[in-house]
């Protein structure tokens, strides 16, 4: 009896300590995630400006409007296209780079630093640099192309190439950090596995696909999910590089929602912007679940 009561009180004590430890995090979560989330949901049922003046309850009209809004769906198509290009490219490139620098070559560390360099600059700074590189007449890229006898590319100034150019920039910037994560996973791999494979006479390519890839699958999944969620939130680059143009070809949902919430011409769109962001949330969730399902099927 005594011991069980003591145990109980210990459990209670533990709970209290535990709650105290997580209290600050929870407090901030409630204030800056939960409350705003609920407010935003409420907002999405109203026609209102960001001042919350003249609020008019319009039920589901904002959501109906989202489904009829060709600009919003254009932005969703854009972001899906972008995700399809950027995420695989990013994952593949970072894995290749990680394998390349995961050697005992002298200088491998230097290459690691060089490859990671783009990741540490801010997206804003990187975008301004690329804006200059992709300048149609004075930019370095077109001048290099011309120097080797190729015609100039339109880069950011044509709707056919703009999104691909943005992808190029974000991949350039993103591979470094994913490379580090892959590298960490590769270095964690047991050496015996490779020894055994080598004895069996497997070539490096076979080893890579038969041994390495399955072993780092969890890391791959982690990177895939994080890159995916990140890709859906593309904003900074678009803000600096294209403002969503030309011909809306780089318009992203986050950029559009930002424009409707705080942009120069926002007007009475706060409720509508909230509705748009919830639809975007649902889409992100669906895609993430889809990827998870796919991943599970694959790893069976």
């Amino acid at each position: 009896m005594v011991s069980s009561r003591k145990k109980l009180s210990m459990k209670a004590q533990r709970n209290i300590v535990g709650y105290i430890f997580v209290a600050p995090a929870l407090l901030f979560f409630v204030i800056f995630v939960l409350i705003p989330l609920v407010l935003s949901l409420v907002l999405s049922f109203f026609q209102t400006d960001m001042f919350f003046m003249d609020m008019e309850f319009i039920r589901l009209d904002n959501f109906k409007r989202v489904f009829q809004d060709s600009l919003f769906w254009r932005s969703i198509v854009n972001i899906l296209l972008y995700t399809l290009m950027a995420v695989p490219l990013n994952v593949i490139c970072s894995l290749v780079l990680a394998s390349l620098v995961n050697t005992r070559l002298s200088g491998a560390k230097v290459f690691r630093v060089l490859f990671y360099l783009p990741s540490i600059t801010s997206s804003v700074a990187a975008s301004t640099v690329w804006l200059w590189l992709m300048n149609p007449s004075y930019g370095l890229l077109n001048n290099i192309l011309n120097a080797i006898g190729l015609p100039s590319a339109t880069w950011l100034s044509h709707s056919k190439t703009a999104l691909a150019s943005v992808t190029l920039i974000t991949v350039w910037q993103g591979v470094g950090s994913n490379m580090i994560i892959f590298l960490a996973a590769l270095q964690n791999m047991p050496a015996q596995v490779y020894e055994a494979a080598k004895l069996d006479g497997a070539g490096p390519i076979t080893v890579f696909f038969r041994m390495t890839v399955p072993l780092i699958a969890p890391t791959m999944y982690f990177i895939l999910t994080m890159t995916l969620i990140g890709a859906f939130q593309l904003y900074d680059q678009v803000y600096v590089l294209t403002s969503g143009g030309p011909a809306n070809s780089t318009l992203t949902p986050v950029y559009l929602i930002w424009q409707n919430s705080f942009g120069d011409n926002a007007g009475p769109q706060a409720g509508y912007a909230a509705a748009q962001s919830f639809v975007l949330f649902v889409i992100i969730m669906l895609v993430t679940v889809l990827v998870r399902r796919f991943d599970r099927d694959n790893s069976k």
Partner: protein, 309 residues
């Protein structure tokens, strides 16, 4: 693994074999280097170009054909940057917001992470999963309400208890710090570290009647320093690069962050590439220094860290 245990060749045939292997090895290594150097060029070229542009005289920037080196080095663009924007104030603001955010994220994040993984209080799983799933929420959802919450924050910036009368945290650096002060990613990341440590250290310390905070602070925290450093770099980076939100909540020139500096050199009709390159380089220097110093811990931290789950 390199095969280093090749026996000394004895017969001529073995010698030939040895030479062949050696040649193959050198060739493959050379190829590897070529690939690495090519990749490095792609990664570094933009930096080179922005550095060169920032030191090029103005009249040479928009001149064809482009040249790989400036005819002379000039600091005019840097001078113009320092003239146009309150650079040091912006730098100070960026450092301040980033460092406070760094501290809160590391401290409160690891505290919560410790509790989630080592205290196992009732409901820790549920709460943790709720936190975790919030990572999927796109930030734009809460854009307007968060602004409202900060503006009407009780007792801040002249507000009364009901959030009326003042300006809350509007145009205050706190408005940049607070929403990201305790990130879910940090908790998730640190929890992985704590989870990889044995529980019995805590158990025995508790038996000895040690205070739980002391157990966290004295016993476990020192063991997760690589994780803290890695998370530190990530947090510093995201704080330093914060752009969308400060754009909304900060307004006075003395409260601007460094990420907002580029806007002063790029208007819808005109882009001043010289100063723009100078300012983007200046923006990157502090974080570059930080990275070079922390580089050593970095991969190690990620390796130990949170990506297995």
């Amino acid at each position: 693994m390199e095969n280093t245990k090749i026996l000394a060749p004895s017969s001529p045939e073995a010698k030939r074999e040895h030479r062949r292997k050696l040649g193959k090895k050198i060739a493959s290594r050379a190829l590897l280097y070529i690939v690495l150097i090519l990749c490095a060029l792609v990664m570094v070229l933009p930096f080179y170009w922005s550095i060169i542009t920032s030191f090029r005289p103005k009249e040479e920037i928009l001149k064809l054909p482009v040249t790989w080196f400036p005819s002379r080095f000039t600091l005019e663009h840097y001078a113009y940057v320092f003239e146009t924007i309150p650079f040091w104030e912006m730098l100070g603001n960026s450092l301040f917001t980033t460092c406070v955010g760094l501290f809160t994220n590391l401290f409160f994040g690891s505290l919560a992470a410790y509790a989630f993984s080592k205290i196992r209080f009732t409901g820790h799983k549920v709460i943790f999963n709720i936190l975790l799933s919030s990572m999927m929420i796109p930030g734009v959802i809460t854009l307007i309400p968060t602004f409202f919450v900060l503006l009407r924050f009780p007792l801040a910036g002249g507000n009364n208890l009901f959030g009326q009368g003042g300006i809350g945290f509007y145009d205050n650096l706190a408005a940049v710090i607070l929403p990201g002060a305790i990130g879910v990613y940090g908790i998730f990341f640190m929890r992985q570290f704590f989870a990889s440590l044995p529980d019995d250290m805590a158990e025995s310390a508790r038996m000895d009647g040690a205070n739980e905070f002391i157990i966290y602070f004295r016993i476990y925290l020192p063991l997760v320093v690589p994780g803290l450093l890695t998370l530190g770099i990530f947090t510093f980076q995201s704080g330093w690069n914060n752009f969308m939100w400060p754009n909304i909540v900060l307004q006075s020139p003395e409260n601007q962050l460094l990420t907002m500096a580029f806007k002063f050199f790029k208007t819808p009709t005109q882009v001043d590439y010289g100063p723009l390159m100078a300012v983007s380089l200046l923006m990157s220097v502090p974080i570059l220094i930080l990275y070079i110093f922390m580089q050593r811990y970095f991969v190690q931290g990620v390796a130990l860290g949170g990506v297995k789950d």
